[in-house]
Structures are given as structure tokens and as C-alpha cells.
């Protein structure tokens, strides 16, 4: 038994956002998707935009995002989230529209839709969770799998000669004139979670300017398919993911300078 503490004279300073449905998410213990879901729903609650936000879920581990996020959502075919979001946003230009996509969805099968949405400068926010692996299908190589990193379809580790290089999407979309804001963040420490939330808020709010696409890449973990404990996976992320996927701001034209 843990200890019991009195809450007398205490005030609540943090609780689960009401925009996150009262359901246990299907994610594995320690998965960064849970944190990212929570952050997006926190900002929807804090900005008071539940009534005019529409999300697009991908195919991948976060395919069921609409079971958890208490907003109107659409489930897109694998890779097509940015096209679906484009359709929604073009019809409702004053709504906040975002896609929530993993690396396979956004950077392999959906690269074309991603690049063209960014290049058109669709006024949507793309939330890109990069955990360097295909989670839902059971640990196959992703476009962002690191060189040397084992996956079930590259059991000896990704080899450049056979599989090419891990793709850096933030760097890529930041080159496109249609993007207005591109930042890469992580959710593996409390400080980074705070920073990730700031980035997400900035990205969502940038939609009000109608000046282009906002793109937030969240470097995340996959304890189950990396075959590590959650704590180990966050350490591995620091040591292996971040050197190849450096955190930071890649583009910020929000102020218009």
C-alpha cells in the first residue's frame, strides 16, 4: 500500500483534460502517443476550440484516435490524412483542422499527400509522431528507422544499401514555401513535454493567420517494438534518435517577418 495524503487546503493544479474521453487508450505502457493525444486535447480545451476543430486520424497505432479525442474526427485511409484534411479545411476555412499521423503513414505511403499539402500551404496542422518503427503491424521497418536499427523486416538492422536512409521530414517540409511553422520536439522528459505543448499550441493558433501549413514532429518511443522498458526506450531515444533527428525550430514565419 502506498501512503495516503490529505488533500485538505490543497488546490487542483493539473488534471486530465475533459476533451480526452474517459476511456483507457489501447496504447502499450509508456507509449508517447498517449502523451501526444493528451497534449493535443489539452490545447483544444485551453483554446476553447472543441466546437470548431476537426481531426483526421491515420492508419497506424493511432488509428483509433477518435475513440479518445472528444472532437469530431475522420479516419483516413493509410497515408491520405493530409488529403482528407485538405478536403475538410477547404470546405470550412475557419475551422481548426489537423492530422495526427505516424511515420509510416506520413513519410512512406503518404509522402505525396504530405508534401503537396505542405506545398500548397494548406492551413492545417500536421502532428507527426516519429517513433522510427511500424507499431500497429508489429515492428516492421519505417521510413524513419535509423541505420543499424533492427526491425522485423530488417532483422539485422537497417542497411543503407538495401533500405536507403531514414527520412528527415521536418527538414524536408521546412524547405517548402507553403509551410509557415515547422518544429521538432520530443515527449520523453517533463521539460520536453512542456515545450512540445507550446509548439502544438503555436501550430494550431497559426491556422488563424491562414498563411500556411504548420508541422510539428514529435520524436517518440515505441517500447514494445523497440523491445525495451518505457524508461529504457526514452533513454534510447535520447541517445539514438535525437542525434539524427535534432530537436528544434526549423521554420517560423508566424510573425510575418
Amino acid at each position: 500500500m502506498g501512503i495516503t495524503v490529505s488533500l485538505e487546503n490543497m488546490e487542483k493544479i493539473y488534471e486530465r483534460p475533459k476533451t480526452l474521453k474517459d476511456k483507457v487508450m489501447h496504447y502499450c505502457p509508456g507509449c508517447g502517443h498517449g502523451v501526444t493525444h493528451r497534449l493535443v486535447m489539452e490545447l483544444v480545451e485551453e483554446l476553447g476550440i472543441q466546437h470548431n476543430t476537426v481531426g483526421v486520424a491515420p492508419v497506424g497505432c493511432s488509428v483509433f484516435a477518435y475513440y479518445y479525442m472528444d472532437i469530431d474526427m475522420q479516419e483516413a485511409a493509410h497515408g491520405r490524412a493530409c488529403a482528407v484534411a485538405t478536403g475538410i479545411k477547404r470546405m470550412m476555412p475557419d475551422h481548426y483542422v489537423f492530422t495526427y499521423q505516424g511515420d509510416g503513414d506520413l513519410a512512406a505511403i503518404g509522402t505525396n499527400e504530405t508534401i503537396h499539402a505542405c506545398n500548397r500551404g494548406e492551413n492545417i496542422t500536421i502532428v507527426f509522431v516519429n517513433n522510427a518503427i511500424y507499431g500497429m503491424t508489429g515492428g516492421q521497418m519505417a521510413p524513419t528507422t535509423l541505420l543499424g536499427q533492427p526491425a522485423t523486416t530488417c532483422p539485422l538492422g537497417r542497411e543503407q544499401a538495401a533500405n536507403g536512409y531514414p527520412i528527415r521530414m521536418s527538414e524536408l517540409v521546412a524547405q517548402l514555401p507553403g509551410t509557415i511553422y515547422v518544429e521538432r520536439v520530443a515527449v520523453n522528459t517533463p521539460a520536453r513535454v512542456r515545450k512540445a505543448k507550446k509548439a502544438l499550441i503555436k501550430a494550431f493558433k497559426s491556422q488563424e493567420l491562414k498563411k500556411g501549413t504548420s508541422f510539428v514532429e514529435i520524436v517518440s518511443n515505441c517500447p514494445s517494438n523497440w523491445k525495451m522498458t518505457p524508461v529504457e526506450s526514452n533513454k534510447w531515444l535520447d541517445e539514438n534518435m535525437l542525434p539524427y533527428y535534432p530537436l528544434g525550430l526549423y521554420k517560423d514565419e508566424i510573425s510575418g517577418e
Binding site: 488546490e11 508517447g32 512542456r194
Partner: protein, 77 residues
């Protein structure tokens, strides 16, 4: 400076026992339970009254099961 006093309430039934909050806690207030919840997880719980209401645990919690409380300012000791 007076030490901030806090407390957390954990929805232990929905906790998956990932341990990220325990790792993130700067005061080692949290630990794994000896018992398990209905899903078979050793959940996270307060094992010491050392909480400083920093919210680190709640920030890294992937299942949003942690509610954080802080002693009201006028009541601080």
C-alpha cells in the same frame, strides 16, 4: 524559500505501470505498488509524502491518470 507541498491522485485502475512518472519524479515520491490492478499492472502510487507539485509525473504520463494538487499559497508552511 518555503518548500512547496503537493500531492497526486492516481487513477490506479487505469494506470499501466509504465513507470515513466516514477522515473520523472525528482523527489522519489512515487513507486510501483506491490499489488496489481485488474489488468495485472503494478501501478504507480505515492510512497513518500515528498511531493512538490512539480507536475513532472503528470506531464510524462501517457495515460493521463495523474491529478496534481498543491497546497494553497496562504496555507503554505
Amino acid at each position: 524559500m518555503a518548500k512547496v507541498k503537493g500531492a497526486v491522485i492516481i487513477n490506479t485502475e487505469n494506470c499501466k505501470g509504465c513507470g515513466l512518472c516514477i522515473h520523472a519524479c525528482p523527489t522519489d515520491t512515487l513507486g510501483f505498488s506491490k499489488e496489481i490492478n485488474s489488468k495485472g499492472f503494478n501501478f504507480s502510487e505515492m510512497i513518500k509524502d515528498e511531493c512538490i507539485a512539480c507536475m513532472s509525473c503528470a506531464l510524462v504520463c501517457p495515460d493521463a491518470v495523474i491529478t496534481v494538487y498543491r497546497m494553497k499559497k496562504d496555507k503554505a508552511v
